[in-house]
């Protein structure tokens, strides 16, 4: 008997997937040359799987903000938000986030994962019920488990499925928290938020929306899908990450609930981990300013997204959703998807390999994410490489 015996099935799958040369889950870039170019063994690779939606990681003002913070605050925070880890920038970012959303409270976390752990496990407990969209991110599933609440899953993007499950539950027996995302990271499809708001209001439940992939991408002001669908006031809690459009590392949650700030002394994933570095927080503040000041970033992102989607569709690829900055291409089975992933990297394109059980409906996908920083030529290059690869595998 060995503690590691349980990895035997994973070992088999992993060995098969990596037999084609590269390791889809362990790529290391020697250098990053720009938001859309990485370097491996002196070869330039077009990055089409980064979640760097607005391409702000190399923005001059964003970099300058991080550099200045490094000098002013040093490298790390060496502590958690409730001890020595709250600096001026953390407070300022919280004020700016709250103002941006027009909400009374905003809290900054070390990662988006920890934002979900903090909000969900901080708010819900044994005796409460959480209703979770089937396709929610692993961090949300983990958060639900950690809370000790009863977890009831409903069919993806299906307000009727949620409605039925809420109706089965005694209206007075427990607090009810519904969790959905904005843009879903695997298929690139979006939530019917207005319908979910209507259902949750009817059943007097709370609604949390994880806008990790939709912040900076949707809405006239880039606040996310809730803004785009006109239901900002319908969501009780909005959660997001700094690690995608906001070009840093960290997470946030905003709410109008008068007691929201008590999470700071109740949520363990906020209290017992070091805070995000001042440099990362200042980077995020600068990115937030850029998102507000430069709506053309979003316009260009969507032009690129539509170009990639239309190009791949024209070549006959099976795509999982309508155009969005996440374009997922169906490759049938894990082995074929892994071969295609390797062949794409050989040709100079990096995308994400996504296979079951990490994907909905047991799909084996190559997942592209588009950036505002991509040129049209880069998008066309990606499309052409996909076409070549489809013939090879």
């Amino acid at each position: 008997m060995d503690l590691f015996d349980k990895f035997n099935p994973i070992k088999e799958t992993y060995t098969a997937l990596t037999s084609g040369g590269g390791d889809p889950f362990g790529v290391a870039f020697d250098r990053i040359a720009s938001p859309t170019i990485g370097v491996i063994n002196n070869r330039e690779i077009v990055l089409a799987g980064t979640n760097n939606y607005l391409g702000l990681t190399f923005d001059d003002a964003v970099i300058a903000a991080g550099q200045e913070a490094l000098r002013t605050f040093g490298t790390g925070t060496t502590g958690s938000r409730i001890a020595n880890g709250t600096f001026g920038p953390h407070r300022l970012l919280e004020e700016e986030m709250a103002t941006h959303y027009g909400m009374s409270s905003a809290i900054v976390f070390t990662t988006g994962y920890q934002a979900n752990l903090s909000v969900v496990a901080g708010l819900a407990q044994k005796g409460d019920q959480i209703f979770i969209d089937a396709d929610c991110h692993a961090s949300i599933y983990d958060a639900c488990q950690l809370s000790g609440a009863e977890i009831i899953r409903f069919a993806h993007n299906d307000p009727t499925s949620l409605d039925r499950r809420l109706a089965r539950s005694d209206p007075n027996s427990s607090n009810k928290l519904v969790i959905v995302e904005g843009l879903y990271s695997m298929f690139g499809d979006v939530s019917p938020l207005a319908e979910f708001v209507e259902v949750k209001n009817r059943h007097k439940a709370y609604l949390m929306v994880d806008e990790a992939h939709s912040f900076g991408v949707f809405g006239d002001r880039g606040l996310g899908l809730a803004e785009a669908h006109g239901v900002l006031d319908g969501a009780d809690f909005l959660v997001g990450t700094f690690s995608k459009s906001l070009a840093g590392i960290g997470g946030f949650a905003v709410s109008n609930h008068p007691d929201f700030n008590f999470l700071r002394v109740a949520a363990r994933a906020y209290m017992f981990t070091a805070s995000s570095s001042a440099a990362s927080v200042e980077v995020t503040r600068a990115a937030l300013k850029a998102i507000a000041a430069r709506p053309e970033l979003r316009t260009h992102l969507w032009e690129n997204a539509r170009r990639l989607h239309a190009g791949l569709k024209a070549k006959g690829f099976g795509l999982m959703a309508e155009p969005s900055p996440v374009v997922a291409v169906d490759f049938g089975d894990p082995a074929r998807a892994a071969r295609a992933w390797n062949a794409l990297l050989q040709l100079g394109v990096y995308v994400n390999l996504a296979i079951p059980p990490g994907t909905p409906n047991s799909k084996s996908l190559l997942r592209c994410s588009v950036s505002a920083a991509h040129t049209s030529d880069q998008i066309d290059f990606v499309i052409n490489c996909f076409e070549k690869v489809a013939e090879l595998v």
């Binding site: 899953r153 039925r164 079951p356 059980p357």
Partner: protein
């Protein structure tokens, strides 16, 4: 604690036919993972179908103890009795 009767096990086995790729005979002892080779996500998707068929809710917390069709049928029987 309610225990599933044979009729319920038969109904659930019938509903499982879509997941039974190898066409094995499904009994109370059939293991979702080892015998049917379905992963945890596919089991949770199956739960959605079962919930709507019997108008019950099955919290996924209860699935951590479930390996076999019989164990799952007991969970369904309990939810129906509740």
């Amino acid at each position: 604690m309610t225990v599933a009767d044979q009729d319920l096990i038969a109904e659930i086995s019938e509903m499982l036919s879509g997941l039974n790729k190898a066409g094995i005979e499904i009994t109370a002892d059939t293991d979702f993972n080892a015998d049917l080779n379905v992963d945890s996500v596919a089991v949770m998707d199956f739960v959605l179908t079962v919930e709507d068929r019997y108008d019950i809710s099955i919290p996924i917390n209860q699935l951590s103890e479930v390996n076999t069709v019989g164990q799952f049928a007991d969970v369904v029987a309990n939810a129906r009795a509740a």
